[in-house]
């Protein structure tokens, strides 16, 4: 029995450290290399809705458009930054989308157009919308969750995923 138990244990270890783990979605992700994480589509087990958030014609440069994604309880914004950025979509490569809920304590972020940052009135965290939501300074342990966007031939903007866990939910899709 003893050796049998060990086999079971070893099997579970293998299971958990391989990319097929079911309970531990996070574990599955962490075994990929950093490069893979950056370049590949989100490999979580979440099935994200493909939601139309607006049309490029709705966007004015540097004026955030309030949206919700993946559902109505998850506020965010679309921003046409006016300058091509990594991760930007559209003809000018400058359209991005972010949650507006601070990943530290869930306070609503303010967009500051003068330096294209999101600012948290709760504990002063700041995120750079031109750098993929990088936390410039702050209390969060995540950079700002950003939407995976797609624009169709009509100029409709669709969100199809989020690259970090949203505050206040243990599954991005409830």
């Amino acid at each position: 029995m003893k050796s049998c138990d060990k086999l079971v244990d070893a099997g579970r270890r293998h299971f958990l450290s391989s990319a097929g783990a079911m309970t531990a979605a996070a574990a599955a992700v962490s075994v990929l290399s950093t490069e893979a994480k950056a370049d590949q589509a989100p490999s979580t087990l979440i099935r994200y809705p493909k939601s139309r958030l607006g049309n490029v014609a709705d966007l004015k440069v540097n004026e955030p458009l309030a949206v919700n994604y993946p559902d109505d309880d998850a506020p965010g914004v679309l921003i046409k930054l006016g300058q091509r950025v990594v991760g930007g979509v559209g003809a000018d490569g400058d359209i991005v989308g972010f949650t507006t809920v601070c990943p530290h304590k869930g306070f609503p972020l303010n967009y500051v157009a003068s330096d294209k940052t999101m600012n948290c009135p709760g504990h002063y965290s700041r995120f750079d919308c031109e750098k993929g939501g990088q936390q410039i300074w702050g209390q969060a342990t995540q950079n700002l969750p950003q939407y995976t966007l797609r624009i169709d031939e009509k100029g409709d903007i669709y969100a199809e995923g989020v690259d970090e866990l949203l505050y206040g939910r243990l599954s991005n899709v409830l």
Partner: protein, 840 residues
């Protein structure tokens, strides 16, 4: 691309998950957390009866909820050999942080050793020895035997002064009462080691001798005092980044005016208002910004003085308050001595202080008015004084410390609600050791002795001089040379021939070599020079007690297994003592061997009961069982009794019998020290100190200032603070700060032809180092600020060996030149260089 985890789901904590008390082991604040663990094969559900929170997790939770955790708070670890899910999240019921998590503490889980999720695989799992030209794993018995034989041979021949030791003296990770006692009993009990230094400074000394010699311990108030003060005086402390949740949870509410009801309840008819704050710091920090946002600019006075001139400012305040009569005469009369002497010795005019500090006379007067002018109706103004490394690692440490305490004492602000004169602190504290009196005062300048060829064996516990000492470039150069002599000698004999190996090592020592042993949880930079590396367990992998900046003592419970063969430092010390006893006996030194008795501990609790419980003030009331029951709030040291029995007379207990382990009575603690007006001196009186201004005190500093163009001010940043040893293996942190930044005024950068993110060399006559430019419009011209203690650019390389009379280093007053090395490398191109300051 900015680092993203691509995690859209976390396992839910089931209702039956185990709950453990955790205190964050990184900084002094000691925020309360809870660790939840459960079998890795399942998770809870969204229905209220399926999860630990008892709420419907299929709904979006509100801001500031306790029912959520970030991916950084999650991991899979081993517990008693089995895989378990681990969530370590802030505890809303802890009075220290009320559920707030800092960007360090909120990564405790992610920074745990996990082979399942590949985190912190850098952790040491086996004892390592230098064998066949590289470090190789071995057994504890083998490694300890080698260390004991070499150490014993050296002591037998040269005496204990040839054994050099570097050891932490603090709480939290890499410390705590168990481990300071374990190391202390070994080096100060079984031996009387004199050539010993502390983790962050080159001698075995206090950083705050100044206040202690006046009879005033440096952690004398409670965090609530920051909510009760009329004025907070912050000297050389950037609290938002380095005592984050103390600042956010206790200073900010007072600056917002939201503690008025608490003040009214405490102080009756005394007029109360939102706090004002005086910040003494040559640099504008995010702390200044946050205070302005919350209190309004009119209630924030930032005194951006010339670097190193704090002392004369405090003396001007002291003189002015004494002249105006803004002092607490009855308190001075009843509880202090030498007031008049200090007034005479420290007399300085506001005009003279303005000249030296570069501040306006009006601002100096405004500050002391905010601090000391009686309130309407004549009530004494309550001022809380807080200081940290800007003062501690600044010019003329001892006197500057005393000059500030003089002001606090004269205004009656020690031992009173809303007062205190306290250091803000780095690590938690956790000091319990036999007397260090034999070390002497001033203590030996260990780094300089090592550079000078002294010492034969060096034991290094949880410190990395290569990253965090002064004069680091010179130290590394000599240290490598001396340890290489031993490595070369070890290469020349077969490892398995123990006698030949010990002889080869001791012969190499005779030729100027140094045998180095490193005890740590991760590979360190100095560890690369060592011959034996012993793997230690950290907080959460062992039970660990410490106290925070208001002396709040808690027990972090063991919630996971330590990696591989690693074990708690206290037990490593005990096993080393056992081996030394055996070896001394074998070589016929029975009297020496007998000194190593009393190390038969099996667990860290054994070390705690042998040390803290028997030797510290109030220790007889403290047990693991009682601490467990008191959760993340614990009690404030010293303990004075048990709730059922009431407080009994305090005093150091020696040899009191420990309580039964099942006893969970509540421990009664001490909210503020000196509340009775009695201080740490024979007559119970605090002394005022003569602390006249004498310019830049440390040898060579004035000449360095005149010779080099930039002040190389230095300190910490929010994301990396007391966590750097693990952060080097954390993707979030290394993505944000691949290199240490150096904040520079944009005009200075233009003059030097620098762009954001460029790599620059900082150099002077002490050495050179590198950093990445961070344009900072608020930085003063010719005043740069570099991230301290970072592995990819060590600021200590350019810090001179100049210290004060008690061998306290002076990192802050460093001057150097800056030149470009290279354009921004690929690894920094994704970084944001925008201002850190919050914009409303």
């Amino acid at each position: 691309m900015t680092y993203k985890r691509q995690i859209g789901h976390l396992p839910i904590i089931p209702a039956d998950a185990k709950e453990h008390n955790v205190v964050c082991h990184y900084c002094i604040v000691g925020c309360g957390y809870k660790a939840y663990t459960w079998d890795a094969r399942y998770e809870g559900g969204t229905a209220p009866n399926q999860n630990k929170f008892g709420v419907d997790l299929s709904k979006q939770q509100e801001s500031d909820t306790g029912n959520w955790y970030a991916p950084s708070m999650y991991n899979i670890v081993k517990q008693n050999g089995h895989d378990v899910h681990l969530v370590v999240k802030p505890d809303k019921n802890c009075v220290v942080n009320s559920g707030l998590g800092s960007p360090r503490g909120a990564r405790i889980a992610e920074m745990s050793y996990s082979r399942q999720r590949n985190t912190q695989l850098q952790r040491l799992t086996d004892p390592l020895v230098w064998r066949y030209g590289q470090m190789q794993p071995t057994s504890w018995d083998d490694a300890l035997d080698l260390v004991a034989r070499v150490t014993a041979a050296v002591i037998a021949k040269q005496g204990e002064d040839a054994l050099f030791v570097s050891a932490y003296d603090h709480g939290g990770a890499g410390g705590g009462y168990e481990n300071t006692w374990g190391t202390g009993k070994l080096y100060f009990g079984a031996m009387k080691i004199k050539n010993i230094r502390i983790h962050n400074r080159p001698a075995y000394n206090s950083e705050v001798h100044g206040t202690r010699d006046m009879g005033i311990g440096e952690l004398n108030n409670c965090y609530e005092d920051a909510e009760l003060a009329d004025t907070i005086v912050a000297v050389g402390t950037n609290a938002l980044e380095t005592q984050t949740n103390y600042f956010l949870n206790h200073w900010i509410p007072n600056l917002r005016g939201s503690t008025s009801d608490k003040k009214k309840a405490e102080f009756g008819n005394e007029p109360v208002d939102r706090a004002r704050i005086v910040i003494v710091d040559p640099r504008r920090t995010v702390t200044v910004n946050a205070c302005e946002v919350e209190a309004g600019k009119d209630n924030v006075l930032h005194l951006a003085l010339n670097s190193g001139t704090d002392l004369i400012l405090f003396n001007a305040w002291f003189t002015y308050a004494a002249d105006k009569g803004w002092i607490d005469k009855s308190f001075i009369q009843a509880s202090t001595k030498d007031f008049d002497k200090a007034v005479a010795a420290n007399k300085v005019s506001v005009a003279d202080a303005a000249k030296v500090t570069g501040l306006s006379e009006a601002d100096i007067v405004k500050a002391i008015t905010w601090i000391a002018e009686p309130k309407a109706g004549g009530a004494r103004r309550r001022a809380m004084f807080a200081y940290e490394k800007g003062l501690i690692w600044g010019n003329d440490n001892y006197r500057t410390n005393q000059a500030l305490v003089n002001v606090a004492l004269a205004t009656g602000n020690i031992g009173r609600p809303g007062g205190g004169c306290v250091r803000m602190g780095g690590h938690q504290e956790g000091y319990s050791r036999p007397s260090d009196a034999h070390v002497g005062k001033p203590a030996a300048y260990v780094d300089q002795l090592l550079i000078g060829g002294k010492g034969a064996v060096h034991h290094i516990w949880g410190c990395d001089h290569y990253k965090t000492t002064l004069n680091a470039m010179e130290f590394k150069k000599v240290y490598k040379k001396r340890t290489d002599i031993v490595k070369d000698a070890m290469n020349a004999v077969p490892y398995g021939d123990r006698n030949a190996m010990v002889k080869a090592i001791t012969d190499a020592i005779a030729k100027g070599g140094l045998f180095a042993v490193n005890i740590d949880i991760v590979p360190t930079k100095i560890g690369e020079a060592c011959h034996v590396v012993l793997p230690a367990a950290t907080s959460g992998e062992m039970n660990l007690t410490s106290m925070n900046g208001e002396r709040r003592m808690r027990l972090t419970e063991r919630y996971m297994d330590p990696p591989g063969q690693s074990m708690p430092d206290c037990l490593i010390a005990a096993r080393l003592a056992n081996n030394l006893e055996r070896v001394f006996r074998e070589i016929g030194k029975k009297d020496v061997a007998d000194k190593f008795k009393g190390f038969d501990w099996k667990t860290e609790e054994d070390a705690f009961m042998d040390g803290y419980a028997k030797h510290e003030k109030g220790g007889e009331f403290v047990t693991y069982a009682r601490l467990r029951a008191m959760g993340t709030n614990g009690f404030q040291e010293p303990a004075t009794g048990l709730e059922a029995a009431g407080a009994v007379a305090g005093g150091t207990s020696t040899g009191a019998s420990p309580a039964a382990s099942s006893d969970q009575q509540k421990i009664v603690g001490t909210k503020r020290l000196y509340a009775d007006g009695k201080f740490n001196s024979k007559d119970g009186k605090a002394s005022f100190a003569a602390s006249a201004w004498r310019g830049l005190q440390a040898p060579g500093k004035q000449a360095e200032k005149e010779k080099f163009r930039f002040l190389i001010n230095n300190g910490r940043t929010n994301l990396v603070w007391q966590s750097a040893y693990l952060d080097v293996d954390n993707e979030l942190v290394m993505d944000r700060w691949p290199y240490p930044f150096i904040e520079m005024n944009p005009s200075d950068m233009t003059e030097l032809g620098l762009k954001e993110g460029d790599l620059v060399e900082i150099y002077n006559d002490n050495g050179s180092t590198q950093a990445m430019t961070l344009p900072t419009p608020t930085a003063k011209r010719k005043q740069a600020f570099m991230l301290f203690g970072y592995p990819t650019g060590v600021q200590g390389n350019v810090v001179s060996k100049g210290v004060n009379e008690l061998i306290v280093p002076n990192y802050k007053q460093t001057w150097g030149n800056i030149r470009k090395i290279a354009d921004a490398p690929e690894g920094v191109k994704h970084l944001s260089f925008k201002s850190s300051e919050y914009v409303t």
